[in-house]
Assembly symmetry: D2
Homo-oligomer: 348 residues x 4
């Protein structure tokens, strides 16, 4: 940690800060310039409260100089993390898996139909929500575990992996038999209790960036899961809130290359939530892959107009098929490929 | 709901939308202008997905024209809601209660000392966290229920009401005996399952605005609690995330008069989280009251430098005493008052 | 314009608004629902102040239902605008031109060297600033017209078109002989006097999105130029300000497909300003083309470490060469191409 | 400037950075920690490009530790700046002047009427726009210099000072005879050429914060004027762009105490632009004064419904009279006063 003193800081002020730092158990190196004194605190500074030091008399600014996350940092695994699922599908390598399916699981008929459709189009994962966090108390709240059972059957029938959102700790255990990957939604990105519990699980977790979260905060949240010993974390960019209102969120495509640089974890793009508009999904899915995304998660429904939730951002099956074709070309252009023919999944 | 057609929209496109609306069970009034056709959908439109209609062929724009919240709206109780606590302290009326205390309950000694200090300065509520959502997995996570017991004792000893944050459904029941008011933090503003459960409780709930939530979303979240039959909801402005980094958040003071206009619920200002800096707390507390806040919640600690969390935004006791004096003057200037001498609280 | 009345609005309030609208010269269609009355104002509503109506007694909300821009709208030229330059290079068609060069023109040697480098790599345009808006009063302010003369010579020597930023009206006339395209920077996006003057010029204008401008505001600004009779406007996404600080701005890639939908004007991506970091430029340039950009503008310098401005976001020549190769592949993947070999430019 | 190296940085990387810094003419102090090396660069670092250093091999982060502004900093004049106008009215001291008037000067009748009204209510300054930057090319663009003449006459007739917006350099000279204070609008906050010219003028300048400007950028912009020798700069908070849409902008009240801390310059609140809604203006004006504002600038019109611009955010004269009364009480509550009876102005 660096404490930069004001030009007019007195010797007493400087001494008082040195003393406080030494008391906190860190070593202090002092650089006295012609106009300004700088204190470098070296040692166990992670417990120091930067904001507190900013308010001390004579202080101009305080800077953290060590990364606040360790396990999620690129330095921890410079070669990058590749996560392998039961059926051999990997994420983080050269081959890019596509995750697709409806916002909500609605019925056996619906989930089987969409599973068939996305499988034929080239998806590796079937996504579908069983527990729905809805902003209106009067809206459909999801089928729960019975829905997950249907999704598992559909995934198995068509050789797909299953991914679904977990909203609270109590759901983890019941979900385990039915899914291949947990998904943590944007609203739960800082639900640290939930993250800690997922750190104890031995299934991959896809962690979505919060709607107002910085990239650093996303990485810090992933640290909770990693710290528990679960190293199979997939990050996901799904749009952040800005002043622009034409799209529901502003999808921060630059988060993709930034995360590839800062972290070893795979990063996936979610253009459905990233834009909230079906007509913008293909362009943003292509942009994600072009920017280096390790996967794409996208909402598809046999009949989006009849979907119980998120219909406006959900692709029609034929749009999805067309999109996968486009993504194959883009992936090729960046020296990668979209999974050609996903291998059959085995039951979990 | 209004659907504005593009100038070049064809009759078929218009008919197709009318048909879709009628199928959905609403009545459609058509206005055919010289250059543009407008469709007004009247009836049960709350279940219609605006975003879906925006994407239909020939549509220029779609507008919701009924308020998405009902129970939280000012029209529901034009005279405003006044919530009365066990000891007679009210919020929402002319008298303004101050809520103060440490970020975290740390020990019997600490909580009793701060209770005495804030009581003497003029607070009505003792605040203190027992469950702490921390962004680093390595930080202090709170004393839990034993901490709440200490807070209850301290509150009773000094005639204060007790308010503390609830983070998950499982905590509601155990917390009930120890607190007078639940607090829902910014990160949980859209934890709808939690809100629904709090709707069944018969204790007031202070609901904080999410860090990226609009005022409308805050009101919609309060609707979850109200819909359950718990009408004692207090809203709280605690800063939103913007591009400005000097303060931790940007406290949206204008949310206070806006909420007074749109809703009947009391609204409280939280300048500690609103700014993240102790040196900005007094000015923003004054601004809140000047703008019409019904209460103030502020962090105070016997020794902020030693606080286990949020020390930088926490006032020293003498700063708090001075602030309450300033708030009394500001309250007077707007025709209100800060509680002169809070009545003794009785055990819950 | 639609005026939605509150549920409790009185007949007098409704009548008063109808009267005000009729006085303003528009026709009013009234829809009386069971709970709510809706007024549709049809006619010359563009001069009505929506904000004013929102404040009238009994009004719930007011919505504009006609597009605020006309000439920039897609409906004005559904087939899209293709701008052709003197040497036959086009923008807006299937072939994508690359614009490249230093932030500032620094010397004859520098601009000739970079011109040769970007030409060899495949650029069609040489960009370079002669007038620099710098946030510090002590920084380099640009070479002015003598710099533009050097750029013109360099552009001609290597068969490139020249583009440079105009900062005020007084610069338009002197710049005319030396450039093929004016550039309006983000800070001047709402300098309406400047835009109006550029509407009278018969040279293309590249208009950058303001750092806090919505897409609608960008289109409205372009309307100023179009309204003057200059239809050769190129739009440019160059990043918006959000709370994320890792990148200097957040490049809103989704603005590219949105603008392709809303407008007929070509849209170009500027990943240098969009990210402010050289290491993120290639990924964001690729994402731009994948999302449908009609061109790319990027900063290149023979030695970015020695550049007088913006060095950190400026590519080394060999990085640029590599990037153009990548963009060729991405363009192909979306059914387009990057100009294979830009034709020689003729003097203006 | 501090350069924090990555944990894995090699000695060559460290040496290469030290060399680069020394070449740039600064002294380097090296602190070698157990896991991390820190370089402190001392000397003329203001010309170093922080962003450039961030990209060098082995670098974790780079921090500027000296303030980027000098003349605007509080340290330059710890006692604060008080600006005195011709008629003895001061800003920056204990007495708070109110500036009021229409958005646009429309006619002799209008400006005289409003001058009388705001004077009687207690204003010291008459504000009014003669050059209007409008986002639509079809809207009213202002009366120009003839309007300013009318405003001068009205101001003199009622003993008021005159303030009006300057939009470009060419307007400075012609405006000089008619106004007591230049106003620079939010859109021109980074029009550095204009600021530089205003640095040469010997009249006070009120500089508004840009809609997406940080507080630091506002102070840096003021530095342009101060550097030219014009020390009479008044800063103005007028709302920033956030994701909240209920108010036109989000007025950042916390900028007021922050600027009081960081700078010696007076700071004024503009609740009209800060909210864009007449019904929110009084609450936000009160909040501004409660937070420490040195003045208030507010839009008032004899008949806002008929105003040619900004009617929705403009107060009726009786609302303004009531507001001044409220502000007197708030000012008192914070130990200050609103000018009781502005002294008569003399011609400039």
């Amino acid at each position: 940690m660096i404490v930069a003193m004001q030009e007019l800081a007195t010797e007493e002020q400087i001494d008082s800060i040195i003393e406080k730092l030494v008391e906190a158990g860190v070593n202090v190196h002092r650089t006295t310039g012609a106009t300004q004194t700088i204190l470098a605190a070296v040692g166990p500074t992670s417990t120091l409260d930067i904001e507190e030091y900013k308010l001390l008399a004579g202080v101009l600014s305080v800077h953290r100089i060590s990364s606040p996350y360790k396990l999620a940092g690129r330095a921890f695994r410079p070669e990058g993390t590749i996560i392998e699922f039961n059926n051999g599908v990997k994420i983080g390598g050269d081959e890019i898996p596509i995750m697709a399916g409806p916002c909500s699981i609605e019925s056996r008929e619906q989930i089987f139909l969409v599973a068939q459709q996305v499988k034929e189009a080239g998806a590796c994962f079937l996504r579908g929500g069983a527990f729905k966090p809805r902003s209106s108390p009067y809206a459909f709240q999801g089928m729960g575990i019975p829905g997950l059972k249907l999704m598992r059957e559909a995934a198995d029938a068509f050789g797909l992996l299953a991914i679904s959102e977990v909203m609270e700790i109590a759901q983890i255990e019941p979900m385990l038999p039915y899914i291949d990957c947990f998904q943590v939604g944007a609203r739960n990105m800082q639900n640290f209790n939930l993250l800690r519990e997922l750190g104890k699980v031995r299934k991959p977790v896809l962690l979505k960036r919060g709607i107002a979260a910085t990239i650093e905060e996303l990485l810090l949240s992933s640290e909770y899961i990693l710290a528990g010993g679960n190293y199979d974390v997939i990050l996901c960019e799904r749009g952040i809130r800005t002043y622009e209102t034409y799209t529901r969120n502003t999808m921060d495509i630059s988060a993709i290359p930034v995360i590839k640089k800062l972290s070893h974890l795979p990063i996936v793009g979610d253009p459905s939530h990233g834009t909230g508009r079906r007509d913008m999904v293909p362009a943003m899915a292509r942009a994600s892959v072009a920017a280096g995304a390790d996967g794409i998660i996208v909402e598809v429904h046999p009949n989006p107009d009849k979907a119980v939730s998120d219909g406006a951002q959900t692709l029609f099956p034929d749009q999805f098929t067309k999109l996968v074709g486009e993504l194959r070309l883009i992936a090729q252009a960046v020296g990668r490929s979209v999974y050609a023919n996903a291998p059959a999944t085995t039951n979990v």
